[in-house]
Protein backbone atom coordinates (compact mmCIF):
# COMPACT_ATOMS: atom_id res chain seq x y z
CA UNK A 1 0.00 0.00 0.00
CA UNK A 2 1.15 3.51 -0.72
CA UNK A 3 1.53 5.67 2.37
CA UNK A 4 2.09 9.39 2.75
CA UNK A 5 3.38 10.55 6.13
CA UNK A 6 3.86 14.02 7.52
CA UNK A 7 6.64 13.98 10.09
CA UNK A 8 8.59 16.44 12.20
CA UNK A 9 12.35 16.01 12.55
CA UNK A 10 14.81 17.76 14.83
CA UNK A 11 16.61 20.42 12.83
CA UNK A 12 20.03 18.83 13.28
CA UNK A 13 22.10 16.99 10.68
CA UNK A 14 21.69 13.25 10.19
CA UNK A 15 18.05 13.05 11.26
CA UNK A 16 16.80 11.55 8.03
CA UNK A 17 18.25 8.13 8.76
CA UNK A 18 15.88 7.92 11.74
CA UNK A 19 13.11 7.92 9.18
CA UNK A 20 14.63 5.87 6.38
CA UNK A 21 16.02 3.03 8.44
CA UNK A 22 12.75 1.91 10.07
CA UNK A 23 10.94 2.10 6.74
CA UNK A 24 13.47 0.01 4.89
CA UNK A 25 13.84 -2.41 7.82
CA UNK A 26 10.17 -3.21 7.41
CA UNK A 27 10.55 -3.76 3.68
CA UNK A 28 9.23 -0.35 2.63
CA UNK A 29 10.19 1.44 -0.57
CA UNK A 30 10.59 5.21 -0.61
CA UNK A 31 9.01 7.03 -3.55
CA UNK A 32 9.55 10.63 -2.49
CA UNK A 33 10.83 12.80 0.36
CA UNK A 34 10.30 16.54 0.76
CA UNK A 35 11.83 18.71 3.51
CA UNK A 36 9.83 21.82 4.30
CA UNK A 37 12.77 23.87 5.65
CA UNK A 38 10.79 27.02 5.05
CA UNK A 39 8.05 25.88 7.44
CA UNK A 40 10.13 25.32 10.55
CA UNK A 41 7.95 24.95 13.63
CA UNK A 42 8.23 26.86 16.92
CA UNK A 43 9.48 23.59 18.47
CA UNK A 44 12.49 23.99 16.19
CA UNK A 45 11.53 20.97 14.13
CA UNK A 46 11.31 20.67 10.34
CA UNK A 47 8.21 19.20 8.68
CA UNK A 48 9.00 16.40 6.26
CA UNK A 49 6.62 14.54 3.95
CA UNK A 50 7.51 11.03 2.90
CA UNK A 51 5.74 8.85 0.38
CA UNK A 52 6.50 5.12 0.35
CA UNK A 53 5.09 1.70 -0.38
CA UNK A 54 4.86 -0.79 2.46
CA UNK A 55 2.76 -3.70 3.69
CA UNK A 56 -0.24 -2.28 5.50
CA UNK A 57 0.10 -4.54 8.57
CA UNK A 58 3.59 -3.17 9.36
CA UNK A 59 2.31 0.38 9.81
CA UNK A 60 1.85 0.26 13.58
CA UNK A 61 5.29 -1.21 14.11
CA UNK A 62 6.73 1.47 11.85
CA UNK A 63 5.05 4.23 13.83
CA UNK A 64 6.50 2.87 17.08
CA UNK A 65 9.92 2.65 15.49
CA UNK A 66 9.78 6.23 14.25
CA UNK A 67 8.66 7.57 17.63
CA UNK A 68 11.40 5.66 19.42
CA UNK A 69 13.82 7.47 17.09
CA UNK A 70 12.44 10.82 18.23
CA UNK A 71 10.46 11.45 15.07
CA UNK A 72 7.00 12.95 15.53
CA UNK A 73 4.34 11.41 13.30
CA UNK A 74 1.85 14.18 12.52
CA UNK A 75 -0.32 12.43 9.95
CA UNK A 76 -0.54 9.10 8.17
CA UNK A 77 -2.35 8.98 4.86
CA UNK A 78 -3.15 5.79 3.06
CA UNK A 79 -3.12 6.56 -0.62
CA UNK A 80 -5.33 4.36 -2.67
CA UNK A 81 -4.35 4.10 -6.27
CA UNK A 82 -7.86 4.42 -7.59
CA UNK A 83 -7.31 5.57 -11.13
CA UNK A 84 -5.90 3.27 -13.73
CA UNK A 85 -5.02 3.40 -17.38
CA UNK A 86 -3.16 1.36 -19.94
CA UNK A 87 -0.75 2.83 -22.47
CA UNK A 88 0.69 1.18 -25.54
CA UNK A 89 4.14 2.26 -26.73
CA UNK A 90 5.61 1.49 -30.13
CA UNK A 91 9.07 2.33 -31.42
CA UNK A 92 12.68 1.76 -30.65
CA UNK A 93 12.08 1.23 -27.00
CA UNK A 94 15.35 0.62 -25.28
CA UNK A 95 15.28 -1.12 -21.98
CA UNK A 96 17.13 1.59 -20.11
CA UNK A 97 14.79 4.25 -21.50
CA UNK A 98 11.86 2.26 -20.29
CA UNK A 99 13.44 1.96 -16.85
CA UNK A 100 13.91 5.75 -16.75
CA UNK A 101 10.37 6.26 -17.83
CA UNK A 102 9.02 4.00 -15.13
CA UNK A 103 11.25 5.60 -12.51
CA UNK A 104 10.06 9.03 -13.52
CA UNK A 105 6.44 8.05 -13.06
CA UNK A 106 7.07 6.11 -9.84
CA UNK A 107 9.04 9.09 -8.52
CA UNK A 108 6.02 11.39 -8.71
CA UNK A 109 4.71 9.93 -5.50
CA UNK A 110 1.17 9.88 -6.84
CA UNK A 111 1.42 7.32 -9.62
CA UNK A 112 3.18 4.12 -10.42
CA UNK A 113 3.73 1.73 -13.26
CA UNK A 114 2.27 -1.56 -12.18
CA UNK A 115 2.49 -3.86 -15.08
CA UNK A 116 4.68 -3.99 -18.11
CA UNK A 117 4.69 -6.33 -21.07
CA UNK A 118 7.31 -5.91 -23.71
CA UNK A 119 7.58 -7.46 -27.12
CA UNK A 120 10.81 -7.21 -29.11
CA UNK A 121 10.38 -9.11 -32.35
CA UNK A 122 13.49 -8.22 -34.38
CA UNK A 123 16.83 -6.73 -33.41
CA UNK A 124 16.43 -3.61 -35.51
CA UNK A 125 12.65 -3.57 -35.83
CA UNK A 126 10.41 -1.52 -33.61
CA UNK A 127 9.33 -3.05 -30.35
CA UNK A 128 6.12 -2.61 -28.43
CA UNK A 129 5.23 -2.35 -24.77
CA UNK A 130 2.04 -1.98 -22.82
CA UNK A 131 2.06 -0.57 -19.33
CA UNK A 132 -0.54 -0.03 -16.66
CA UNK A 133 -0.33 3.19 -14.72
CA UNK A 134 -2.08 3.53 -11.38
CA UNK A 135 -2.53 6.89 -9.72
CA UNK A 136 -4.17 8.32 -6.65
CA UNK A 137 -6.80 10.16 -8.69
CA UNK A 138 -7.85 11.27 -12.13
CA UNK A 139 -5.84 14.48 -12.09
CA UNK A 140 -2.72 12.63 -10.99
CA UNK A 141 -3.26 10.06 -13.70
CA UNK A 142 -3.53 12.80 -16.30
CA UNK A 143 -0.29 14.29 -15.02
CA UNK A 144 1.52 10.99 -15.33
CA UNK A 145 0.19 10.50 -18.87
CA UNK A 146 1.57 13.97 -19.60
CA UNK A 147 5.00 12.86 -18.40
CA UNK A 148 4.80 9.83 -20.62
CA UNK A 149 3.83 11.95 -23.62
CA UNK A 150 6.88 14.14 -23.16
CA UNK A 151 9.13 11.12 -22.95
CA UNK A 152 7.49 9.60 -26.04
CA UNK A 153 8.02 12.79 -27.97
CA UNK A 154 11.65 13.01 -26.95
CA UNK A 155 12.32 9.39 -27.90
CA UNK A 156 10.10 9.34 -30.98
CA UNK A 157 7.80 6.65 -29.63
CA UNK A 158 4.21 6.32 -30.75
CA UNK A 159 2.00 6.23 -27.69
CA UNK A 160 -1.54 4.97 -27.89
CA UNK A 161 -3.85 5.97 -25.11
CA UNK A 162 -7.29 4.66 -24.27
CA UNK A 163 -10.33 6.43 -25.56
CA UNK A 164 -11.45 8.80 -22.82
CA UNK A 165 -14.38 7.52 -20.96
CA UNK A 166 -17.13 10.06 -21.16
CA UNK A 167 -17.21 12.16 -18.04
CA UNK A 168 -13.74 11.23 -16.89
CA UNK A 169 -11.19 12.59 -19.32
CA UNK A 170 -7.78 10.99 -19.41
CA UNK A 171 -8.74 7.42 -20.17
CA UNK A 172 -9.40 6.86 -16.54
CA UNK A 173 -11.30 4.03 -15.06
CA UNK A 174 -11.91 4.23 -11.38
CA UNK A 175 -11.64 1.18 -9.25
CA UNK A 176 -11.82 0.82 -5.53
Amino acid sequence: MRISMDLELQDTPGQLKHVLTPISDLGGNIASIVHHHDKKTFRNTVPVSVIFDIEEQTLEELQDGLEQNGVTVVRIGKMRLRARTHILLIGHIIHTDLRDTIDEIDGTGFAEVQDLSLSMPAIDGPSSAIITIMATGDEELKKSIGILRQIAERKDLLIIEPLDERGSPGGVSNEE
Partner: protein
Protein backbone atom coordinates in the same frame (compact mmCIF):
# COMPACT_ATOMS: atom_id res chain seq x y z
CA UNK B 1 -37.11 25.22 -56.98
CA UNK B 2 -38.22 26.19 -60.39
CA UNK B 3 -39.20 22.94 -61.99
CA UNK B 4 -42.56 21.27 -61.70
CA UNK B 5 -43.51 19.92 -58.28
CA UNK B 6 -43.46 16.34 -59.37
CA UNK B 7 -40.10 15.88 -61.07
CA UNK B 8 -36.65 16.55 -59.65
CA UNK B 9 -33.93 17.04 -62.23
CA UNK B 10 -30.33 16.24 -61.37
CA UNK B 11 -26.90 16.19 -62.95
CA UNK B 12 -24.19 13.74 -61.89
CA UNK B 13 -20.76 15.36 -62.03
CA UNK B 14 -18.17 12.59 -61.77
CA UNK B 15 -18.92 9.09 -62.99
CA UNK B 16 -16.70 6.79 -60.97
CA UNK B 17 -17.72 4.33 -58.28
CA UNK B 18 -20.11 6.72 -56.56
CA UNK B 19 -21.48 8.44 -59.69
CA UNK B 20 -22.29 5.08 -61.22
CA UNK B 21 -23.87 3.96 -57.95
CA UNK B 22 -26.11 7.02 -58.02
CA UNK B 23 -27.07 6.40 -61.66
CA UNK B 24 -27.86 2.80 -60.77
CA UNK B 25 -30.14 3.48 -57.83
CA UNK B 26 -32.00 6.51 -59.18
CA UNK B 27 -33.25 4.34 -62.03
CA UNK B 28 -35.71 2.93 -59.53
CA UNK B 29 -36.88 6.31 -58.27
CA UNK B 30 -39.68 7.51 -60.53
CA UNK B 31 -39.62 11.22 -59.67
CA UNK B 32 -35.92 11.78 -60.32
CA UNK B 33 -34.67 12.59 -63.82
CA UNK B 34 -30.95 12.66 -64.67
CA UNK B 35 -30.39 15.46 -67.21
CA UNK B 36 -26.62 15.10 -67.59
CA UNK B 37 -23.69 12.98 -66.50
CA UNK B 38 -20.09 14.18 -66.66
CA UNK B 39 -16.81 12.38 -66.28
CA UNK B 40 -13.35 13.86 -66.80
CA UNK B 41 -13.61 13.47 -70.55
CA UNK B 42 -17.05 14.76 -71.41
CA UNK B 43 -20.77 15.03 -70.85
CA UNK B 44 -23.70 12.78 -71.68
CA UNK B 45 -26.83 14.92 -72.03
CA UNK B 46 -30.25 13.40 -71.34
CA UNK B 47 -28.56 10.04 -70.90
CA UNK B 48 -30.23 6.69 -71.06
CA UNK B 49 -28.96 5.43 -67.71
CA UNK B 50 -28.69 1.75 -68.63
CA UNK B 51 -26.81 2.58 -71.78
CA UNK B 52 -24.44 5.07 -70.21
CA UNK B 53 -23.65 2.71 -67.32
CA UNK B 54 -22.90 -0.08 -69.78
CA UNK B 55 -20.64 2.19 -71.84
CA UNK B 56 -18.72 3.36 -68.79
CA UNK B 57 -18.27 -0.19 -67.51
CA UNK B 58 -17.14 -1.28 -70.94
CA UNK B 59 -14.49 1.44 -70.96
CA UNK B 60 -16.16 3.42 -73.73
CA UNK B 61 -16.57 7.22 -73.72
CA UNK B 62 -19.91 8.46 -72.41
CA UNK B 63 -19.93 11.92 -74.01
CA UNK B 64 -22.63 12.78 -76.53
CA UNK B 65 -22.13 16.56 -76.52
CA UNK B 66 -19.43 19.22 -76.57
CA UNK B 67 -20.36 20.54 -73.16
CA UNK B 68 -18.07 20.45 -70.16
CA UNK B 69 -19.11 19.66 -66.60
CA UNK B 70 -19.05 23.39 -65.82
CA UNK B 71 -21.26 24.13 -68.82
CA UNK B 72 -23.80 21.69 -67.48
CA UNK B 73 -23.71 23.24 -64.03
CA UNK B 74 -24.06 26.77 -65.42
CA UNK B 75 -26.38 26.41 -68.37
CA UNK B 76 -28.42 23.22 -68.32
CA UNK B 77 -31.66 23.85 -66.44
CA UNK B 78 -31.92 21.47 -63.47
CA UNK B 79 -32.48 21.37 -59.72
CA UNK B 80 -29.68 19.43 -58.10
CA UNK B 81 -26.00 18.99 -58.89
CA UNK B 82 -24.67 15.69 -57.53
CA UNK B 83 -20.96 16.44 -57.16
CA UNK B 84 -18.97 13.20 -56.97
CA UNK B 85 -15.55 13.98 -58.44
CA UNK B 86 -12.38 12.90 -56.60
CA UNK B 87 -11.56 14.43 -53.23
CA UNK B 88 -8.65 16.84 -53.47
CA UNK B 89 -7.44 18.06 -50.09
CA UNK B 90 -5.20 20.71 -51.63
CA UNK B 91 -7.68 23.41 -52.51
CA UNK B 92 -10.67 21.20 -53.27
CA UNK B 93 -10.65 21.41 -57.10
CA UNK B 94 -12.32 20.54 -59.38
CA UNK B 95 -15.18 20.00 -56.91
CA UNK B 96 -14.91 23.44 -55.31
CA UNK B 97 -15.62 25.28 -58.56
CA UNK B 98 -18.41 22.85 -59.38
CA UNK B 99 -20.09 23.42 -56.02
CA UNK B 100 -19.59 27.20 -56.10
CA UNK B 101 -21.00 27.52 -59.58
CA UNK B 102 -23.94 25.28 -58.81
CA UNK B 103 -24.90 27.32 -55.76
CA UNK B 104 -24.42 30.63 -57.59
CA UNK B 105 -26.78 29.33 -60.25
CA UNK B 106 -29.30 28.49 -57.55
CA UNK B 107 -29.00 24.77 -57.83
CA UNK B 108 -28.93 22.57 -54.77
CA UNK B 109 -25.81 20.49 -54.28
CA UNK B 110 -25.57 16.96 -52.94
CA UNK B 111 -22.02 15.71 -52.62
CA UNK B 112 -19.79 12.91 -51.34
CA UNK B 113 -16.69 14.96 -52.14
CA UNK B 114 -14.88 16.12 -49.00
CA UNK B 115 -12.46 18.44 -50.81
CA UNK B 116 -14.68 21.50 -51.26
CA UNK B 117 -16.05 21.25 -47.71
CA UNK B 118 -12.60 20.96 -46.17
CA UNK B 119 -11.31 23.89 -48.24
CA UNK B 120 -14.22 26.30 -47.91
CA UNK B 121 -16.97 25.10 -45.61
CA UNK B 122 -18.18 28.46 -44.36
CA UNK B 123 -17.99 30.13 -47.74
CA UNK B 124 -20.07 27.37 -49.34
CA UNK B 125 -22.71 27.18 -46.63
CA UNK B 126 -22.98 30.98 -46.80
CA UNK B 127 -23.27 30.87 -50.57
CA UNK B 128 -26.02 28.26 -50.34
CA UNK B 129 -27.83 30.40 -47.80
CA UNK B 130 -27.61 33.60 -49.86
CA UNK B 131 -28.90 31.81 -52.93
CA UNK B 132 -31.68 30.08 -51.07
CA UNK B 133 -30.56 26.58 -52.01
CA UNK B 134 -29.39 23.57 -50.04
CA UNK B 135 -25.94 22.04 -49.75
CA UNK B 136 -26.12 18.47 -48.46
CA UNK B 137 -23.21 16.20 -47.72
CA UNK B 138 -24.31 13.14 -45.74
CA UNK B 139 -22.14 10.90 -47.91
CA UNK B 140 -18.92 12.76 -47.13
CA UNK B 141 -18.77 11.25 -43.64
CA UNK B 142 -19.28 7.57 -42.99
CA UNK B 143 -20.66 6.60 -46.42
CA UNK B 144 -23.94 4.79 -45.82
CA UNK B 145 -23.76 5.27 -42.07
CA UNK B 146 -26.16 8.08 -41.17
CA UNK B 147 -24.54 10.84 -39.18
CA UNK B 148 -24.93 14.34 -40.62
CA UNK B 149 -28.68 14.12 -41.13
CA UNK B 150 -29.09 12.02 -38.01
CA UNK B 151 -27.67 14.85 -35.94
CA UNK B 152 -29.31 17.62 -37.92
CA UNK B 153 -32.80 16.17 -38.14
CA UNK B 154 -33.41 13.30 -35.77
CA UNK B 155 -31.37 14.71 -32.90
CA UNK B 156 -32.46 18.30 -33.57
CA UNK B 157 -33.75 18.68 -30.02
CA UNK B 158 -30.47 17.77 -28.34
CA UNK B 159 -27.23 19.69 -28.09
CA UNK B 160 -24.28 17.76 -29.45
CA UNK B 161 -21.34 17.89 -27.06
CA UNK B 162 -18.87 15.69 -28.92
CA UNK B 163 -18.60 13.24 -31.78
CA UNK B 164 -15.96 10.54 -31.99
CA UNK B 165 -15.71 7.92 -34.62
CA UNK B 166 -13.95 5.20 -36.50
CA UNK B 167 -14.37 6.90 -39.85
CA UNK B 168 -12.03 5.19 -42.28
CA UNK B 169 -12.84 1.71 -43.54
CA UNK B 170 -9.38 1.08 -44.99
CA UNK B 171 -7.62 1.70 -41.68
CA UNK B 172 -10.20 -0.27 -39.83
CA UNK B 173 -9.81 -3.21 -42.18
CA UNK B 174 -6.02 -3.17 -41.80
CA UNK B 175 -6.10 -2.97 -38.01
CA UNK B 176 -8.78 -5.63 -37.71
CA UNK B 177 -6.93 -8.11 -39.94
CA UNK B 178 -3.60 -7.46 -38.23
CA UNK B 179 -5.10 -8.10 -34.81
CA UNK B 180 -7.26 -11.07 -35.69
CA UNK B 181 -4.90 -12.94 -37.97
CA UNK B 182 -1.62 -11.85 -36.37
CA UNK B 183 -0.40 -10.49 -39.71
CA UNK B 184 2.14 -7.74 -40.31
CA UNK B 185 1.13 -4.28 -41.46
CA UNK B 186 2.76 -4.58 -44.89
CA UNK B 187 1.14 -7.93 -45.55
CA UNK B 188 -2.36 -6.70 -44.75
CA UNK B 189 -1.83 -3.47 -46.67
CA UNK B 190 -0.96 -5.42 -49.83
CA UNK B 191 -3.96 -7.64 -49.26
CA UNK B 192 -6.21 -4.59 -48.91
CA UNK B 193 -4.74 -3.12 -52.10
CA UNK B 194 -5.44 -6.37 -53.94
CA UNK B 195 -9.02 -6.30 -52.77
CA UNK B 196 -9.51 -2.67 -53.78
CA UNK B 197 -9.99 -1.63 -50.15
CA UNK B 198 -6.78 0.42 -50.17
CA UNK B 199 -5.44 2.68 -52.93
CA UNK B 200 -2.11 2.03 -54.66
CA UNK B 201 -0.87 5.04 -52.70
CA UNK B 202 -2.50 4.38 -49.33
CA UNK B 203 -1.22 7.56 -47.65
CA UNK B 204 -4.52 9.39 -47.79
CA UNK B 205 -6.15 6.69 -45.66
CA UNK B 206 -3.37 5.26 -43.47
CA UNK B 207 -1.84 8.62 -42.55
CA UNK B 208 -5.22 9.68 -41.15
CA UNK B 209 -5.87 12.39 -43.77
CA UNK B 210 -9.27 11.04 -44.79
CA UNK B 211 -10.37 10.78 -41.16
CA UNK B 212 -9.13 14.32 -40.56
CA UNK B 213 -11.26 15.59 -43.47
CA UNK B 214 -14.34 14.00 -41.91
CA UNK B 215 -13.50 15.47 -38.51
CA UNK B 216 -13.20 18.90 -40.13
CA UNK B 217 -16.57 18.58 -41.86
CA UNK B 218 -18.32 17.53 -38.64
CA UNK B 219 -16.55 20.20 -36.60
CA UNK B 220 -17.61 22.88 -39.07
CA UNK B 221 -21.14 21.58 -39.43
CA UNK B 222 -21.95 21.06 -35.77
CA UNK B 223 -19.50 23.10 -33.72
CA UNK B 224 -19.10 26.09 -36.03
CA UNK B 225 -15.35 25.71 -35.95
CA UNK B 226 -14.46 26.90 -39.46
CA UNK B 227 -11.52 24.49 -39.25
CA UNK B 228 -9.28 23.51 -42.12
CA UNK B 229 -6.69 20.82 -42.47
CA UNK B 230 -3.93 22.64 -40.60
CA UNK B 231 -6.07 22.78 -37.46
CA UNK B 232 -6.21 19.02 -36.99
CA UNK B 233 -3.64 17.06 -35.04
CA UNK B 234 -3.18 13.87 -37.06
CA UNK B 235 -1.42 10.58 -36.30
CA UNK B 236 -1.94 7.67 -38.69
CA UNK B 237 -1.76 3.91 -38.31
CA UNK B 238 1.38 3.22 -40.33
CA UNK B 239 3.64 2.74 -37.31
CA UNK B 240 1.40 0.22 -35.61
CA UNK B 241 2.87 -3.24 -35.30
CA UNK B 242 1.24 -6.59 -35.01
CA UNK B 243 2.92 -7.19 -31.62
CA UNK B 244 1.48 -3.99 -30.29
CA UNK B 245 -1.99 -5.13 -31.29
CA UNK B 246 -1.42 -8.48 -29.58
CA UNK B 247 -0.25 -6.81 -26.38
CA UNK B 248 -3.33 -4.60 -26.42
CA UNK B 249 -5.56 -7.57 -27.03
CA UNK B 250 -4.10 -9.46 -24.07
CA UNK B 251 -5.27 -6.59 -21.88
CA UNK B 252 -8.71 -6.49 -23.43
CA UNK B 253 -8.23 -3.69 -25.96
CA UNK B 254 -8.46 -3.22 -29.68
CA UNK B 255 -6.62 -0.40 -31.46
CA UNK B 256 -8.70 1.81 -33.77
CA UNK B 257 -8.01 5.04 -35.61
CA UNK B 258 -10.35 7.50 -33.91
CA UNK B 259 -11.36 10.96 -35.05
CA UNK B 260 -12.33 13.25 -32.19
CA UNK B 261 -14.35 16.17 -33.47
CA UNK B 262 -14.29 18.45 -30.42
CA UNK B 263 -10.55 17.95 -30.02
CA UNK B 264 -9.87 18.25 -33.77
CA UNK B 265 -7.64 15.22 -33.41
CA UNK B 266 -7.07 11.96 -35.23
CA UNK B 267 -5.02 9.21 -33.59
CA UNK B 268 -4.99 5.50 -32.84
CA UNK B 269 -6.68 4.74 -29.53
CA UNK B 270 -7.08 1.75 -27.26
CA UNK B 271 -10.73 0.76 -27.21
CA UNK B 272 -12.13 -1.86 -24.82
CA UNK B 273 -13.06 -4.95 -26.83
CA UNK B 274 -16.71 -4.68 -25.78
CA UNK B 275 -17.04 -0.97 -26.62
CA UNK B 276 -19.63 0.00 -29.28
CA UNK B 277 -16.96 1.83 -31.33
CA UNK B 278 -15.02 -1.42 -31.66
CA UNK B 279 -16.42 -2.34 -35.07
CA UNK B 280 -14.48 -4.69 -37.30
CA UNK B 281 -13.53 -4.99 -40.95
CA UNK B 282 -14.31 -2.00 -43.16
CA UNK B 283 -17.17 -0.81 -40.94
CA UNK B 284 -17.39 2.73 -39.66
CA UNK B 285 -18.88 3.78 -36.33
CA UNK B 286 -19.52 7.07 -34.62
CA UNK B 287 -20.56 7.94 -31.16
CA UNK B 288 -22.44 11.16 -30.59
CA UNK B 289 -22.56 12.62 -27.10
CA UNK B 290 -25.58 14.84 -26.48
CA UNK B 291 -26.85 16.78 -23.50
CA UNK B 292 -30.32 15.29 -23.35
CA UNK B 293 -30.19 12.06 -25.36
CA UNK B 294 -26.97 10.78 -23.79
CA UNK B 295 -24.58 8.91 -26.01
CA UNK B 296 -25.75 7.48 -29.31
CA UNK B 297 -23.62 5.16 -31.42
CA UNK B 298 -24.21 4.35 -35.08
CA UNK B 299 -22.31 1.92 -37.27
CA UNK B 300 -22.47 1.07 -40.92
CA UNK B 301 -20.72 0.71 -44.24
CA UNK B 302 -18.39 3.65 -44.68
CA UNK B 303 -17.72 3.19 -48.37
CA UNK B 304 -18.75 1.34 -51.49
CA UNK B 305 -20.42 2.42 -54.67
CA UNK B 306 -24.06 1.63 -53.88
CA UNK B 307 -23.67 2.26 -50.15
CA UNK B 308 -22.38 5.78 -50.70
CA UNK B 309 -24.98 6.37 -53.39
CA UNK B 310 -27.65 5.44 -50.86
CA UNK B 311 -26.56 8.34 -48.65
CA UNK B 312 -26.64 10.64 -51.67
CA UNK B 313 -30.12 9.45 -52.54
CA UNK B 314 -31.30 10.10 -49.00
CA UNK B 315 -30.07 13.70 -49.34
CA UNK B 316 -31.82 14.05 -52.70
CA UNK B 317 -35.05 12.65 -51.30
CA UNK B 318 -34.95 15.01 -48.36
CA UNK B 319 -34.59 17.92 -50.80
CA UNK B 320 -37.72 16.64 -52.52
CA UNK B 321 -39.55 16.53 -49.20
CA UNK B 322 -38.39 20.05 -48.35
CA UNK B 323 -39.76 21.24 -51.67
CA UNK B 324 -43.22 19.81 -51.25
Amino acid sequence: MRNSQSLLTISIIGFGAVGQGVATIVQNVPRIKVVAIADSKGVALMPDLKDVLARKRGGQPIANSNLTALDVIRTVDHDVVVEVTPTNIHGGEPGLTHVREALKNKRCVVTSNKGPLVAAFDELTQLAHTNGVALRYEATVGGAMPIVNLIRDTLAGARVLDIRGVLNGTCNYILTRMAEEALDYDQVLSEAQDMGIAEADPTYDVAGIDTACKVIILANAFFGRNATFADVDVTGIDRITQDALQLARQRGFAVKLVGDVQELAVSPKLIPIGHPLNVSGTLNAASILTDTAGEITVAGKGAGSIETASAILSDILSLMRDRS
